[in-house]
Symmetry: C2
């Protein structure tokens, strides 16, 4: 069994993680039933539920009362390593060329934030205090993983929705630390840096100012945060959440009440309006400048980049046009999506994935 | 009803086509049954079948015996405008800024190549001569659409597979001409140009040479064409087909026997091995240098870019990691995929989408 590899496609510039375990091929073809019973579990057998702590790997971090011990029950939020990580934590990157191709070993971290002891609650059901605990756990893990200079980026992402085949149902977030800045984030960083070089202003702050003055795509706001439908939304009902004041790193904050409030509201609106769709949530914070190369490269980072959360409902799969062009065709304008989400009435009887 | 818009996300640099027809929202939530009966049709009611020519828009191009007339039956391949195009052919681009955002009107062409009169045949079932007719129709339409200097690119793409919800079953290809070079193609063009500036060699020719000498990812070849599993495949069993000799434009060729042969073989192998998966096929030819700006920009185009076909099975949906990072996690290495496709035995009893 070899180590997984990061491989770069010289034509597209995209990196893929190529898994080396031959036996995994069968996972592709396991039928839905098998996969469901294997991965979803029910509340009696779910290893993420309170009381089943011994069935998971030992915890890396938790929020729990002082009188409870590591890996005991009684916790509020718990972070564990993924049982089958596709990146491994130990080893050198072994950055090398294979002929004309670029390859790195699949080094990285893959952790899971278990957001509740309760099997049937989604994040938007939680009391605000519990959402704040989840956000506090995000912060702690980002700060800790960024101490490792091998990692250029720490990405948090999660799937919502019962319908999604590939996820455990019990509410959780993936944390992935990677030795390469993810392509998607790198593009954001470059566009932000270019905008700053040209205008000496933060691109995101400019967007926030314009959106607040136009007020066609602002779905919700509170004193510190703004939720809007991006002008060029990739998919119907895409929502981005920003801090109104300029801030590069999510992990700069200790206080999460206002973020928890807007996040809960927006997730509830999406869930109600679109009748429990599947959706993806991603946190884009600044890169890891503990990595010296990055500090040199993103010279104006603290001034040009602005952390945010991206929420993308999966209302339809990708089409051959999307794949071939990289364009997205979006049949619901962000202005319509904003009106519908502001109103908050259910508009559908069924969603598909 | 407004005109659809190309809108650019200044953060990601990605363009979306935002559809302006309010009523389309319901399409998102039509249940699968409705959509299927509306779009799939069966052989008795399919408007793409031979004998139902009057039910479609009038043809733009066809390959048919000399003694038959336009829109009569008896054709071999027929190209028609899409009934509900998301880009419209008439009008100016109206390239403008809306505040800080970039917007163009949704001008373009959206045509369908109906590849056969027979409802139940897929491209890989066709006799070679019929596949050659399809490729000849591709060529004619690319040449014709490239006369329009508003269009920077002509993209051909198609979905295979019965399972895909959003496609008509009757075998057809989409042709889309766009006033913006698709993001995905632009990245290829830039990487190819950079490689050429540095090495004075075509990036694709370098890949072909390396792959032929290593021979770990070459699935099939004939005198003129090569099918390989890309070194950094995005998804299991991805296949790219290249002409072995350097060639920038697909439409430079009049003679398609060898391409038809390797295409049929590869599609049959994928279909057999993976038990009729859904998959996407995309043709990437060079951009439209009838557009003067492009000729100035891609100065070494004829030397640095190399047309090719990309085939991507859809064995699983995108994950939140894919969405957030732009990385792809691929659980079947291209070396394994090559061995399996070379052998050509069925490895699965079921596929999912």
């Amino acid at each position: 069994m070899g180590i997984n590899q990061f491989r770069r496609n010289p034509v597209t510039g995209q990196w893929s993680v190529i898994i080396q375990n031959e036996y995994d091929i069968n996972d592709l073809f396991s039928n839905e039933q098998t996969r469901k019973s294997k991965k979803t579990g029910d509340s009696e057998h779910c290893q993420f539920c309170g009381g089943f702590e011994t069935e998971t790997p030992s915890e890396i971090f938790s929020i729990r009362p002082n009188n409870t011990r590591k890996d005991d029950s009684g916790w509020s939020v718990r972070v564990i390593p993924d049982k089958k990580p596709f990146l491994q934590i130990y080893g050198d990157l072994n950055n090398r060329g294979i002929g004309m191709y670029d390859v790195l070993d699949g080094i990285g971290a893959h952790e899971l934030v278990i957001e509740t002891t309760e099997h049937n609650l989604q994040l938007y059901h939680f009391p605000l205090k519990q959402i704040e605990h989840v956000l506090a756990a995000y912060r702690e893990r980002i700060l800790d993983l960024k101490k490792d200079a091998r990692f250029r980026y720490v990405l948090l992402h999660k799937n919502y929705g019962e319908g999604h085949k590939e996820v455990l149902f019990h509410s959780h977030t993936h944390i992935i630390a990677t030795p390469i800045t993810p392509t998607r984030v790198k593009t954001e960083l470059m566009n932000s840096m270019e905008h700053y070089q040209y205008k000496e202003r933060c691109l995101f702050c400019d967007i926030i100012n314009q959106e607040l003055s136009v007020n066609e795509r602002v779905i919700q706001e509170n004193e510190k945060f703004l939720a809007l439908a991006p002008f060029a939304s990739r998919s119907p009902f895409e929502v981005w959440i920003f801090p109104k004041a300029h801030e590069t790193f999510f992990e700069s904050n200790r206080e999460h009440t206002q973020l928890a409030t807007i996040l809960k509201d927006i997730l509830q609106k999406i869930t109600t309006t679109l009748n429990h769709p599947n959706f993806v949530m991603v946190l884009h914070s600044g890169p890891n400048i503990a990595n010296g190369r990055l500090r040199g490269y993103w010279k104006t980072l603290e001034k040009d980049y602005h952390w945010h959360i991206e929420i993308t409902p999966r209302l339809r799969g990708f089409t051959s046009f999307d794949v071939g062009s990289g364009f997205h065709v979006n049949i619901v304008s962000p202005e319509s999506a904003t009106r519908i989400l502001r109103e908050g009435k259910t508009i559908s009887a069924k969603q598909e994935n």
